[in-house]
């Protein structure tokens, strides 16, 4: 990622960090009052109800993208701290970008599909 300044990458790391506090907070708050009930399909706190909640689903979409960026940038930083080298640096960038795109596509397909059916 030689063409992007590290400060730009890190600025987005910090911005997504702030966003994550909100949306991940929402994601965790939806486990209230019972984790067990929140992962059942039906029921007042169940998954079906969560999928129907537009506000919550918006947060989940934002969470998917923000978390993927934040995690991939963080992972890249860590991998470059552990080791550096011409091939290693390129390999890290390729793997990180591929992994990030993969997560985003899988997550988006599942979420959009779920929204359409329900």
């Amino acid at each position: 990622m030689g063409m992007v300044a590290k400060s730009t990458l890190m600025k987005w790391h910090y911005i997504t960090g702030l966003i994550l506090v909100v949306v991940l907070g929402i994601h965790l708050a939806f486990r209230w009052p019972s984790y067990e009930a929140s992962i059942q399909w039906s029921g007042p706190h169940g998954v079906y109800e969560q999928l129907l909640n537009i506000g919550y689903m918006a947060a989940i979409f934002i969470l998917l993208y923000a978390a993927t960026y934040h995690a991939m940038n963080g992972l890249r930083t860590l991998l470059l701290e552990l080791h550096q080298g011409r091939y290693w640096n390129t390999a890290v960038d390729v793997v990180i970008i591929a992994l990030g795109i993969f997560i985003v596509i899988v997550g988006t397909v599942a979420l959009v599909g779920a929204l359409q059916v329900i």
């Binding site: 910090y14 960090g17 702030l18 994550l20 506090v21 991940l24 965790l28 486990r31 209230w32 009052p33 019972s34 984790y35 067990e36 009930a37 992962i39 399909w41 039906s42 998954v47 079906y48 999928l51 998917l64 978390a67 993927t68 995690a71 991939m72 963080g74 992972l75 860590l78 992994l99 997560i103 899988v106 997550g107 397909v109 599942a110 979420l111 959009v112 599909g113 779920a114 359409q116 059916v117 329900i118």
Partner: protein
């Protein structure tokens, strides 16, 4: 025998790091970050599978989640519940400490101005804004642990 220059550095003093909260937070931030990044990949894959990759049904959801959750351990909590509980704790500490760093480094909150030396010199990590920050991090994490324990094991 000839003398040769060492190629390896002197090993670190772990005792210097393991006795300060700041250093614990640093090590924790790195380790939890790595675990959470890997968890994100797994979590996205599992939930996407449970949602049938765009063809959700109660049957797929219950089968996949039932498999992941595993047998009951304590009270209502399954094996999966406990893993999620631990991950949530990592999130809480990573997030609370992360916010501290963001507020400080992005917005300069609690970052002192350079000043003329007065003896004895107090380094900025030992000045009061930092102490407040760090106690807040601990307080937030404790509140989170209480809430999360209720959600996972009682509710």
């Amino acid at each position: 025998m000839t003398e040769k220059l060492a190629t390896k550095r002197n090993p670190p003093k772990w005792s210097l790091w393991l006795r300060g909260l700041d250093e614990w937070l640093l090590i924790f931030q790195k380790v939890s970050g790595a675990i959470l990044a890997i968890y994100l990949i797994g979590h996205t894959l599992v939930i996407s599978t449970a949602l049938g990759f765009g063809h959700p049904s109660q049957l797929t959801w219950e089968r996949v989640i039932g498999l992941i959750e595993g047998p009951k351990v304590v009270g209502v909590a399954h094996v999966g519940t406990i893993i999620e509980y631990l991950i949530a704790l990592l999130v809480a500490i990573h997030g609370a400490n992360g916010i501290r760093l963001i507020l400080m480094q992005y917005f300069g909150l609690g970052l002192p101005k350079p000043e003329r030396h007065t003896y004895p010199m107090i380094p900025s990590p030992r000045k009061s804004p930092q102490l407040v920050y760090k106690y807040l991090v601990i307080a937030v994490v404790i509140v989170f642990i209480i809430l999360a324990s209720y959600v996972a094991f009682v509710g």
